[in-house]
């Protein structure tokens, strides 16, 4: 930081304070024995206890995690296959059309995706709940996986595949023993991104979730609409710690691969 001027340092500090203040504010009041986000009375862990005693909240938490893991697993498989398929298309026009359709899904506003999926599910008769949420999460994660895997495939030397085939590998062998190992970092990045998209999603889930089923985002929304509940604060404390641990882990993993091949992971 030595090269930076003082105003620059102050600027960075202010932005960081603004970025983190709301998060620490939430966590700070999660230890408040009073029931509100002002007037800190005394230190307590009762709100954390409440999180673990609230069976409804725990079920929602588990649902959220199951949806996230399942949807990112399935979308990673489909997305990776899709990316491999796209690369194998030699017709430029066809390839670009597919990529544009892929991109439409990524930039589409959540509300539009949610609303259109609601129409789709109602029309083909999928019951709103676990299934509809899972399918939606798979659907909006696939294009992200494709985008993460594609660069790896494009940088792959095609001679590797020729060599494998010359040496007698079947198409299956080429896929599982040449292509997949090579693009592994992209696949992991895709899986990871799909996971965060799923955990973070609110709008799409909100549209397709029906009555009986809820994920964390939807639950927080409905609680926040009514007012303040320090159980949510305690929950955000837990989520913050878990997130930081995951990010640090991810940082070191991608740093290692980055040193190896100059990629930038999620970024």
């Amino acid at each position: 930081m030595n090269r930076l001027s003082t105003p620059a340092k102050i600027y960075v500090a202010v932005v960081f304070i603004i970025l983190y203040a709301p998060i620490f504010y939430l966590i700070f009041y999660s230890f408040n024995s009073g029931g509100s986000m002002h007037n800190f009375e005394s230190f307590t862990l009762e709100h954390y206890q409440a999180v673990f005693e609230d069976s409804r909240l725990l079920v929602i938490l588990i649902n959220t995690i199951i949806i996230a893991l399942l949807s990112s697993l399935i979308s990673t498989i489909l997305g990776t296959l899709g990316a491999i398929g796209i690369v194998s298309i030699k017709n430029r026009k066809m390839r670009n059309t597919l990529l544009s359709l892929n991109n439409i899904m990524i930039v589409s506003p959540d509300v539009v995706i949610g609303a259109s999926f609601l129409i789709l599910f109602t029309m083909i008769g999928v019951k709103l709940g676990f299934t509809s949420v899972l399918i939606s999460h798979i659907a909006f994660s696939i294009p992200i996986v494709v985008l993460m895997v594609l660069p790896k495939l494009l940088e792959m030397n095609p001679n590797l595949i020729d060599a494998a085939q010359d040496l007698g590998a079947t198409k299956r062998d080429v896929l599982y023993r040449v292509i997949v190992p090579y693009i592994k970092p992209g696949i992991f990045a895709g899986f990871f991104m799909a996971l965060t998209y799923s955990l973070d999603d609110f709008a799409v889930t909100f549209f397709v979730t029906g009555n009986g089923f809820s994920t964390l985002s939807v639950e927080i929304y409905s609680i926040a609409r009514v007012g303040i509940s320090l159980t949510i604060n305690a929950l955000s404390g837990i989520i913050f710690v878990v997130t930081v641990l995951i990010v640090i882990g991810y940082y070191f993993v991608t740093r290692r691969t980055k040193l190896a091949n100059g990629g930038l992971g999620r970024l």
Partner: protein
Amino acid sequence: MRDRVAKGPLIPYLLWIAFFVIAPIALIVYYSMLDLNGNFTLENYKRFFSPVYIQMTLTSFFYAVIITFFTLLISYPMAFILTKTKHKYLWLMFIIIPSWINLLLKTYAFIGIFGLYGPINAVVSVFGIESQQILFTDFSFIFVSVYIFIPFMIIPIFNSLDKLNPTLVDAARDLGASPFTTFRRVIWPLTIEGVKSGIQVTFIPALSLFMITRLIAGNQVITLGTAIEQQFLVAQNWGMGSTIAVFLVLIMLVSMLFTGRKAKGGRV
């Protein structure tokens, strides 16, 4: 060449495109031409061009422009300074962490912060100004939105600044360009792609996020997203909701043309 890899992998992907990209868009267009009883009509479009909806669209657009502008204004210098730091990727990681905290939680935090008894009002009252409701105002809506989008704007700009060859800047300076000219003629044009991606991930969500308007702005601000949610889930008028969605998609396509970038590279 063509048969190097089997076409098999493409089939599930094509099915996905057909069912979850093309079909939903087609359904939205189809529903936008239906009235409440399911009869074909262009009434929704007529209604959309009535003063009420036109004004709502313009207001929503205006808010999104303001939000994007302030987000860019704060993020560009931040990204620029961060690329100059010694442990730049570590600092970038600290930018990324808040972006991974659930959006709803961050928005929820502001309900407390901007509240009547929250810290902002506590600070203000030290100066003898009476506490007032900051929640449910235009200001709170814009502030929270900018807050949410800052990391998403910084990341692509950081990446493009990071790729910028520093010798180009040195060359410009050696050739006598002032810092401002260097920025305007060298740095900015070479990082415009990052700025464009940043705008893309800010502008469209700013038009369509409805939880911020609902939680922070009360019913003061109605964006296109809020209107769609309202029509679909409250009024149960899917036709009108779809019509607004059609226009949101059109705005999205136009803004994609302006911020057009190649089909590679992630969202962020």
